[in-house]
């Protein structure tokens, strides 16, 4: 069975979380993704957790999840001999995605320049872009998130701003690069032109939805950094139930009225205290009490079933231990567990989307490669003799 992206060649340079996330979808849907890793190991391989908390360059959870179906070659892209390899690999590729400092990226771009035209599509990922006064700044997941206005917005006034889960920001940046990279490939398929795409982490996060800036730009007024539970358009946010928390988004009709009926208080749906937009914010505590009392006799899954039955937007708040066994995850096989040589059982998320049916093999996730696993194989494939291969290894250009 062929996969949708069979025949595509994608090169990944830099070994960061972003670039690994960018390459993952290409690889799992059938493209030949070559992961070019720096000799000093890739960032993505250094990230915990590790089995039993014992670090290992081939056992990091993020690496195991993001580098699936790829091939690994270790090349020092700072040396000329290394650049020559990248040039040879890259000129056969449909797309190169790199996440390295702007200076280094510029060097690599130049080896693919043929006059004004480019030999292949290149997407660069940098914190602030390839130009401008900040182009050489170094940032990480936390600081990029700080730039995006989301830290500030999604936290409580007076308290320190919060990022999302670790790496949420850099993963999103990688996905952004993947999307535009895919488009670039399509672009050269239809009219043969290669493009240079500059993805700046800050812009990719800030320009996307759910960033506070766009909202402010449109309405001009600065919103207070509200707590988790909205006191205006409630119930919105997490509410305690018998065995945990329920997440509600039922502040406005028709959902609000459905909720009132569902908890046996149809009267509330017409109660001015909770329906008049001006009154409503004053009576948050009163409503919270009513809702939590109803919830206190129900587990989150009971409440989930009961309320969704009545069309109320709500769902349980789950923790790591509950994900896999959620009925829906089980039905769709949203998580797959497999045994990987030398590592043991690992569990990763399944397909981000299903093409041609729930369990078609459009998506096939092969085990993540060990560090430098395919160096020799790839060099041979691209025409390097054994003598040349040894020479490169000997000079520390490859590993």
């Amino acid at each position: 069975m062929t996969q949708p992206l069979d025949g595509l060649k994608v090169i990944e340079i830099g070994g960061t979380v972003s670039v690994s996330a960018a390459g993952k979808k290409f690889a799992d849907f059938g493209a030949d993704v070559i992961k070019i890793e720096p000799p000093q190991i890739s960032e993505v391989r250094k990230i915990a957790p590790f089995p039993d908390d014992i670090f290992h360059i081939d056992k990091g959870a993020v690496h195991l999840a993001f580098d699936t179906s790829k091939r690994s070659i270790v090349v020092d892209h700072l040396t000329n001999s290394g650049k020559e390899i990248i040039q040879r690999l890259g000129s056969k590729a449909n797309l190169i995605i790199m996440d390295i400092p702007a200076k280094e990226a510029l060097d690599l771009i130049n080896i693919f320049k043929d006059g004004d035209s480019l030999l292949t599509n290149i997407v660069t990922i940098t914190p602030h872009g390839m130009t401008g006064p900040y182009k050489d700044r170094i940032e990480n997941d936390l600081t990029l998130f700080g730039w995006s206005t989301r830290s500030h917005r999604h936290s409580i006034t007076g308290r320190e701003p919060l990022r999302y889960g670790p790496y949420a920001g850099v993963v999103q940046i990688g996905s952004t690069a993947a999307a535009v990279g895919m488009a670039a490939i399509w672009g050269s398929r239809s009219e043969g032109m290669s493009r240079l795409v500059d993805v700046a982490g800050v812009e990719a996060l800030m320009g996307n939805v759910d960033s506070g800036f766009f909202l402010w730009a449109v309405n001009g007024a600065l919103q207070p950094r509200s707590a988790g539970q909205s006191t205006g358009l409630y119930p919105m946010g997490a509410y305690k139930c018998k065995d945990g928390y329920m997440l509600f988004s039922a502040g406005r009709d028709p959902v609000y009225s459905r909720l009132c009926n569902a908890i046996g208080r149809p009267d509330l749906s017409t109660d001015k205290r909770f329906t008049d937009p001006v009154e409503k914010p004053k009576h948050f505590e009163a409503f919270k009490e009513i809702l939590e009392e109803w919830l206190s006799t129900r587990t989150k899954y009971e409440a989930f079933d009961e309320l969704q039955e009545k069309g109320v937007m709500c769902c349980p708040v789950l923790d790591a231990s509950e994900l896999e066994n959620d009925r829906q995850s089980v039905h769709r096989k949203s998580y797959i567990t497999r045994n990987q040589d030398g590592i043991g059982d690992i569990t990763i998320a399944g397909p981000p989307f299903r093409m041609n049916g729930l369990h078609s093999d459009a998506w096939q996730s092969k085990p993540a490669p060990s560090f430098s696993q395919h160096t020799n194989e790839i060099l041979e494939e691209y025409g390097y003799s054994k003598q040349e291969t040894i020479a490169l290894f000997r000079a520390g250009v490859t590993t």
Partner: protein, 420 residues
């Protein structure tokens, strides 16, 4: 003229809020021809504001509220708009022709709804076997939760993300609901639909794509599931800290509710930071903090020292100073702050958009820069039904047909504010 990477791809959007529409705008940025079919006469959810006095999403002005709401503006640039009642037979005829026209159909109804409307995949592919249909229901098209309703904030909670986002000492009540899936799902589905078009080159047929938003979140957080499976540990919120890196946090800067993120990932960054704080000795060999080992054992002490230091400076200035020393540092931006970034101005990132009902303001720009054909904001968020005539003409309807449809309220270009 915007980028033309996707020139020639016709995208048909029947979708609400962001996960679908924003992706369609991105495709529009890249040169695809996007037609948004907007609900009519019922006002679309995306444009459904609460009381304008209370709903922060509504821009000031005197035009219709549904044209002033941020939710709509943020997800609908670079498309054309037709407001159509697809429950009528004429409406269905229009939609059928649109489906013939389209290469991609994006719908984000809750699972089953589109089938009930009579446009399930079986029908669609009868009409146009070359089209790819993308469904974005949160839990996907199959399984026990079929028919349940939710959006981004809920998927975030069920993907296990919400519980690791909070303050370390916080309670789940404090956890702010977020729409992370709305930001990331479009990035995934663009790959999905283009992938299916590439497959179409081989098979001659479009495909059906079932994207469960919760599954698209799941792959992005391998740490959550792995720490459980590998080490039987339920990940706790780490807030802004990193268990292996000190310092790694958010610190107060001068000015009210103003903050700066600072990280020193290695010894040399730490050395420079210590020097900036007039405590070079903290990085000298012999001092326990000169090693990362000593630092992670004294996280709180180090953080409080840094707080004392950062309090004296403006976040932007201090970030400049620290970055000049190779230290990872960035101001924590509040919504208006991006306008203070020399970088974004230097890159001409902000876009001025002229819209009849919202004040002229600098809006956020594109997610990427492209050479040689840069993206441009050719079409501002369309008014409801703004392109009705143009689109219907293109589909081969006569001006009489159009006039009829308008009079029968099959199409329209205004909502009754009251409708829900």
């Amino acid at each position: 003229m915007t980028s033309n990477l996707l020139q020639g791809i016709n995208v048909l959007e029947i979708s609400e809020v962001w996960a679908g529409p924003f992706g369609c705008s991105l495709m529009g940025d890249l040169g695809a021809d996007v037609i948004k079919v907007e609900s009519y006469p019922r006002k679309s959810e995306t444009r459904n504001a609460g009381d304008p006095r209370l709903d922060p999403r509504v821009a000031e002005g005197d035009g219709p509220i549904y044209e002033r709401i941020n939710t709509h503006h943020h997800g609908n640039r670079n498309k054309r708009n037709i407001a159509l009642d697809i429950r009528t037979s004429e409406g269905r005829e229009v939609l059928t022709r649109l489906i013939r026209w389209g290469d991609i159909l994006v719908e984000s109804f809750s699972a089953g709804t589109i089938d009930r409307l009579g446009y399930g995949w079986d029908t669609i592919k009868e009409i146009n076997e070359k089209i790819t249909m993308l469904s974005l229901a949160g839990w996907g098209q199959e399984g026990p939760y079929l028919g349940r309703i939710m959006f981004g904030v809920g998927f975030d909670a069920m993907a296990g993300h919400s519980l690791i986002r909070g303050y370390q000492d916080g309670t789940p009540e404090e956890i702010i609901p977020i729409l992370h899936s709305d930001a990331t799902v479009p990035l995934t589905w663009i790959v999905a639909v283009l992938g299916s078009l590439m497959e179409r080159d081989r098979t001659g047929k479009g495909s059906y794509i079932d994207l469960a938003q919760i599954e698209d979140l799941a792959w992005q957080f391998p740490g959550i599931i792995s720490d459980w499976k590998m080490n039987n540990r339920v990940a706790k919120p780490v807030a802004n800290s990193d268990p292996s890196i000190v310092p790694h946090g958010c610190y107060q800067s001068a000015g009210e509710d103003s903050w700066i993120n600072i990280v020193a990932e290695n010894d040399s960054q730490w050395q420079n930071l210590a020097a900036m704080m007039d405590h070079s000795e903290w990085a000298e060999i012999g001092h326990s903090w000169s090693s990362i080992v000593g630092r992670i054992d004294s996280r709180d002490e180090i953080d409080s020292h840094i707080n004392q230091f950062t309090k004296q400076y403006d976040a932007f200035d201090l970030a400049d100073k620290l970055q000049a020393q190779g230290i990872i540092a960035a101001p924590v931006l509040s919504p208006p702050d991006p306008l203070m970034s020399p970088q974004l101005h230097d890159r001409n990132w902000f876009q001025i958009v002229d819209h009849p009902y919202i004040p002229e303001r600098l809006l956020g720009g594109f997610l990427w820069k492209i050479e040689p054909d840069a993206p441009s904001w050719d079409k501002r968020a369309a008014l409801v039904g703004e392109n009705n005539d143009e689109i219907l003409m293109q589909l081969g309807f006569s001006s009489d047909d159009i006039a009829q449809m308008r009079s029968k309220e099959i199409i329209g270009d205004a909502y009754d504010e009251a409708t829900r």
